[in-house]
Symmetry: C2
Subunit: 189 residues, 2 copies
């Protein structure tokens, strides 16, 4: 048996619980409307992980009965859990290559008609144009709703990351579309 805390998932859960006591269901919902653009967890990870965290004494479980609905299992950070989270936050980030299917398809793009790649890149452009707007909206909302939260600057940093990245990809997509059109024209001649 391994000690809970090595992987990122349990530590992400500890982090979310540091915002306040929550159930597995709540955690999933919170992820989807906060860190969802750079982190995801499924129930199949959350529930077993919470159980293990509880067994390791890093979180505490309290069952609250509800009318009609199933019992709610609310978890909260223990002192040990808080310590573990802080330790993990200090560990240097290990960046691994994340696979990019768009680039893979583009790399072999010469094997198909230029219009195929154009379509892929156009979709990418649309996605990130929308994303930039979304990030701006999120930042605006955060600045309003969490104006006095000491965590606000950190949250804005992550949003800004997304914004800058998406803006860059918009730029790339536009450049790339032009290049693809150029290829298409020279091919037809």
């Amino acid at each position: 048996m391994r000690i809970e805390g090595g992987g990122a998932t349990p530590n992400a859960l500890l982090g979310l619980l540091s915002l306040g006591p929550m159930s597995g269901y709540d955690i999933k919902a919170l992820i989807d409307r906060s860190i969802g653009y750079f982190w995801s967890e499924s129930y199949g990870q959350i529930y077993p992980s919470l159980k293990r965290l509880a067994a390791a004494g890093l979180v505490e479980k309290k069952t609250s009965r509800q009318k009609g609905r199933p019992d709610k299992h609310v978890y909260s950070l223990t002192a040990a859990g808080q310590a573990q989270l802080q330790e993990w936050l200090k560990v240097p980030v290990t960046e691994e290559v994340n696979r990019n299917e768009l680039l893979l398809k583009l790399f072999f793009g010469e094997r198909v008609a230029p219009s195929v790649c154009r379509e892929h890149v156009r979709a990418c452009l649309e996605t990130h144009e929308r994303a930039v707007k979304t990030y701006d909206a999120i930042a605006k909302g955060l600045r309003k709703d969490s104006a006095n939260d000491p965590q606000l600057p950190y949250w804005l940093m992550t949003v800004n990351f997304g914004r800058i990245r998406s803006a860059a990809l918009v730029k790339w997509a536009k450049e790339t579309l032009k290049e693809l059109e150029r290829i298409e024209k020279t091919q037809k001649k």
Copy 2:
């Protein structure tokens, strides 16, 4: 039993084999010095996958004996394999959220000293500053060595993606470092 060709890995292999006949070992080496910055495969994936592709008739295996060294199993694309690759290249890219541990740690950054986050962001800055230079070098090399290859424009598009993305992250990291220093100063007062 499933038909080979659904996942990205077998199709990536087909793509690489479209560049010429190769062994599993060659494929790994080629990945590492070409698409390695946005795609990776391990032997544990490559060898079994090639076997399945051969069973499905998408690639053809030829064993060439070598002096001293173990036999080399050279695979080449069949017509069916080429067709499968082209079909796959047309399928719209499904972008899923890729987890970002740096952002996760930054999101909970208020739970630790600002210097911790500063260190993470500084590492990110360094990584991407180096990356920009690497991408430039790769592009230069490609323009020289593959000047007449019709695939060159596509390869440059993928390199340019990396370049633009890394340059954007350098910008973000610099901004973020300033912000972290600001937080540090206001905290000390």
